[in-house]
Amino acid sequence: MNELLSGMQFSLSDGLELVFYVALLAFTIHSVIAIYHWFTFGTERSISLIAASIYLIGGGLLIGTMLMLLLNI
C-alpha cells in the first residue's frame, strides 16, 4: 500500500505541470469562444481582427513564458 501511495505522490514540478496544462486548455477554449463572439456579433471585422491578434499574441507570450519556466524547474 505504501509503495502504491509513494508511486502516486506528486512533486511540485508535477503540480506545476498540471497547472500549465489546465491553463493551456482554459486559454484555448476561452480564445475560441471569445474570438467566435467578436467575429460573429462584432460590428467591424478590422476591430475584431486587431482584438483577436492582441489577445492571442499576449496569451501566447504568457503561455510560452510559462513553458520556458516549467522546463527550467
Partner: protein, 194 residues
C-alpha cells in the same frame, strides 16, 4: 458580422452605433492591470513598509530557492487576468445601441452565449429620459438613457453609461420625427398609433 444578422430593411440606414462610454472600459482595463501587478506591488510595499516581516529565510525562499516556481505562478495569475480583460472587452464591444432610420436595436451581451437583443420602431417611441448622476459622469458627460415605447407592452429600453446622453436623445427624437414624416398618414390610426 452583426449588421448581416440584424437584417436591415429596404431603405433602412444606420444613423449611429453607440457603445458605453470609454470611462467604463478604461476603469475595467485599469482594474485588470492593477490585479496583474498586485503581487509585485504587494511584495514591494511589504519590503518598504515592514521589512522586518520578511525574514532572511522568506527573502531567500522567494528570490532564490523557488524563484522559477513563483515566476511560473505569477505568469498563471497574469494569464487569468488577461482572460478577464478579454471578457471586459467583449462586454464593451458587443453591448451597443444601433440607431437606424426606422428603429433602435439594443444589444446587451450578458455573458458568452447569452445575448439580449431588443428593438423598437421609431414611430413607437413615446418618451425618452436621461439621467446623469455623479461627479465623473457629469464631468465626462455620460449617463443612463431610457426609451419608453407605446404599445401593448410596457417595454422600456434602459442602458447605463451611454456617452453624451443629451446628444443621443436629440438624435433619436430627430430620427423619430423624420420617421413620422415619412409614414403615410393613412396608416396612422386616430389614436396616433400604427
Amino acid at each position: 458580422m452583426l449588421y448581416e444578422r440584424i437584417k436591415l430593411e429596404n431603405d433602412e440606414k444606420i444613423i449611429k452605433t453607440v457603445r458605453k462610454h470609454w470611462w467604463i472600459i478604461f476603469t475595467r482595463v485599469s482594474f485588470s492591470i492593477f490585479m496583474m501587478l498586485m503581487p509585485l506591488i504587494g511584495y514591494t510595499l511589504l519590503m518598504a513598509i515592514a521589512p522586518e516581516f520578511l525574514t532572511q529565510k522568506i527573502t531567500l525562499f522567494v528570490n532564490e530557492t523557488y524563484s522559477t516556481e513563483i515566476s511560473f505562478l505569477y505568469c498563471t495569475w497574469v494569464l487569468i487576468n488577461w482572460m478577464m480583460l478579454a471578457n471586459f472587452w467583449t462586454d464593451h464591444y458587443l453591448d451597443l445601441w444601433t440607431i437606424t432610420t426606422r428603429r433602435i436595436v439594443s444589444i446587451d451581451q450578458r455573458a458568452y452565449f447569452h445575448r439580449f437583443l431588443s428593438s423598437f420602431r421609431l414611430e413607437r417611441l413615446q418618451d425618452m429620459n436621461i439621467e446623469v448622476k455623479g461627479l465623473i459622469p457629469t464631468l465626462l458627460n455620460f449617463g443612463t438613457i431610457e426609451a419608453q415605447t407605446a404599445g401593448g407592452s410596457n417595454e422600456e429600453f434602459k442602458t447605463k453609461n451611454m456617452p453624451d446622453p443629451r446628444g443621443l436623445k436629440a438624435l433619436i427624437i430627430q430620427a423619430a420625427d423624420d420617421r413620422q414624416r415619412t409614414i403615410p398618414t393613412s396608416s396612422i390610426a386616430q389614436d396616433g398609433t400604427l
